[in-house]
Amino acid sequence: MVPLFFQVLKPRLWTCPESSISLIHRPLPAKRAPPPPPALGPRAVCGACFCAAFEAEVLHTVVAGRLLPPGAVVAVGASGGKDSTVLAHVLQVLAPRLGISLRLVAVDEGIGGYRDAALAAVRRQAARWELPLTVVAYADLFGGWTMDAVARSTAGSGRSRACCTFCGVLRRRALEEGARLVGATHIVTGHNADDMAETVLMNFLRGDAARLARGGGLGSPGEGGALPRCRPLQLASQKEVVLYAHFRRLDYFSEECVYAPEAFRGHARHLLKLLEAARPSAVLDLVHSAERLALAPAARPPAPGACALLDGLNRGRPRLAIGKGRRGLDEAGPPRDGEPERAPAPEAVPAF
């Protein structure tokens, strides 16, 4: 068999048993010690070894970080996209060794055309893996608000209408509700290293101290009554995730959300690509920076939660709850809790 070589971008050295040819050496990210390598050797591997290495790395992340204890019932946030597809597949492979059981939870944001096709992909995946799938819809959870309705309601705000900000906060809440529905003890999401680095950049660029402060680590232990969350793919680069999906022939949905082009994230992504070209370790360095960042307690206001956003929407002043509007909300008094049966205030929960 002819060996097929792949460059592994992370600070790790894998030996491909198919060959001993040394092809590429990338610089190690500064300040971060490389994880214990299984063997020193060339950092180019064949497709099969790449996939095995990828799975071993996720296993290492989960075990070393004690993210998912044996017996855990894990809700996988499934969007149908590459990251959550890869995450669910890898955890499915690792589940016997980790002693965990999996549930797929998909969120229907109510985005016409886009989400229907993505949910179809999730259903195909659930059938293929024989995993139970639960779909929770914004419309059911949030008093009839779908993302299309939110977009119409914020349309007057022009290019900064921040659909994705609303959607992110609401999706976090929806995933929590879905996970509780299926009796999960833990939530996992498919964020990869590139996602995390983009988020760090965005938070810096926006001066969002609340999100910067909670950005570090591989997840949150579940403060304030929320389920513990983690991101097992946080140390995997976007490229590795896509390559893994390619070699495992995973069926995923590769279209962009209709609202994504107006998201601020696009700018952060573009900047990150430029930085990465100049400094290949920039992505992992940024993730590392966020982990090591310590903010004074006074500089850590709570980020607005789903209730604050819904409150703003229902009052017809959606932008009050985001950006500068946070000050406006404070002036207007504490937001009403839309769902009083959830005693712990979700605003206080560290978010991803």
Binding site: L4, F5, F6, Q7, L23, I24, A44, G47, S79, G81, K82, D83, S84, T85, G113, Y114, A117, A120, A121, R124, G190, N192, D194, D195, Q238, K239, V241, V242, L243, A245, H246, R249, L250, D251, Y252, F253, S254, E255, E256, C257, A260, R269, K273, L274, E276, A277
Partner: protein, 121 residues
């Protein structure tokens, strides 16, 4: 084993992979996103590159693709003389970064796959 410069080359150029997103053809044209859009919705192209003086490399191929395959918004696929950052290139299923990137000389029957990593997940 570089083929003689005068010979034409046959090979395939794909964006995405049928096995990766098999449902893609079923979607409405307007909903085809990512890199698919750039190739007029056709995922895999069997192509024959005409013989030319200099040997075909990826750099030449990108120019050829831009001229012959791209139907709209070439800037989403090509930036400068290379692919847009975030598009993976696999040459016969191997990472092009290991094969000289733009300088890789195409062989007969090569399969070149472009995968966008830029969509959401």
């Amino acid at each position: 084993a570089t083929p003689p410069a005068s010979r034409s080359l046959r090979g395939s150029v794909s964006l995405g992979d049928e096995a990766v997103c098999p449902g893609i053809e079923a979607h409405d044209r307007a909903w085809r996103g990512g890199a698919e859009l750039l190739f007029d919705g056709v995922k895999k192209h069997q192509v024959t590159l005409p013989g030319q003086e200099e040997p075909w490399d990826i750099r030449n191929l990108l120019v050829w693709i831009k001229k012959n395959l791209l139907k709209e918004r070439p800037e989403l696929f090509i930036q400068g003389d290379s692919v847009r950052p975030g598009i993976l290139v696999l040459i016969n299923d191997a990472d092009w970064e290991l094969l000289g990137e733009l300088d890789y000389q195409l062989q007969d029957q090569d399969s070149i796959l472009f995968i966008s990593t830029l969509h959401g997940g």
